[in-house]
């Protein structure tokens, strides 16, 4: 079988399974920013590949089909509004892991975006994808 991972966020040639995709709410609040940064950190660390939530929302064909081919999906939401989770559900995706940053003890509007907070979320996210 041929498997060529050609670097972060670059297409891979088909092998036995689809990609592990990470969607972050990337919302306007501090916890949304942490979600975004944690997803990028997880991509850098190889836990999965951050993918385009907006593309799923916009039903962009390539993004939809790629998401359908995913072997694992993680949605990271900053807060209880669960925008990423709800968007994926509305797009027809039901089988995915979900991480809510406020469940980790971080308060919306009161959490600094730091190496520590990003790392904590990234670590929790990676554990959900194992």
């Amino acid at each position: 079988m041929e498997t060529t991972i050609m670097g972060n966020n670059r297409p891979q040639e088909c092998c036995g399974g689809g990609p592990t995709l990470i969607f972050a709410c990337s919302g306007a609040a501090d916890v949304g920013q942490i979600a975004d940064q944690a997803a990028r950190r997880m991509t850098k660390n190889g836990a999965g590949k951050m993918f385009c939530l907006a593309g799923v929302g916009g039903r962009v064909s390539g993004i939809m089909k790629t998401t359908e081919s995913a072997s694992k999906i993680l949605a990271i939401d900053g807060c209880e509004l669960d925008c990423a989770k709800e968007l994926l559900k509305q797009a027809g995706f039901a089988d995915f892991e979900h991480l809510r940053i406020t469940d980790l003890g971080m308060q919306k509007g009161k959490t600094d975006v730091t190496e520590q907070t990003i790392a904590k979320v990234a670590e929790q996210g990676a554990s959900l994808l194992k």
């Binding site: 297409p11 088909c14 390539g62």
Partner: protein
């Protein structure tokens, strides 16, 4: 004319998908053009993370697998 694009760098699965797509088009008797997109940067413009992929008239139909001509036919109508 139906525009069919195969996204992939030229692996055996890409070639197989191309053959299936062409066979499907011929079975339907439609006018078509097949374009192979092999440049990674061009492939990424479709929002695709897995190849091979089949694109019909600009819409991504299949990602990461090879389909038979019979499976592709409905996508060309």
């Amino acid at each position: 004319m139906k525009k069919i694009q195969i996204l992939g760098t030229g692996c055996p699965k890409c070639k197989k998908l191309t053959e299936s797509a062409e066979a499907a088009a011929k079975m339907l008797g439609i006018e078509y053009e097949i374009q192979k997109v092999t440049d990674i940067n061009d492939i990424m413009k479709f929002g695709v993370m897995l190849t091979p992929a089949l694109v019909v008239d600009g819409q991504v139909k299949v990602v990461g697998k090879v389909l038979s001509p019979d499976e592709i036919k409905p996508m060309l109508i």
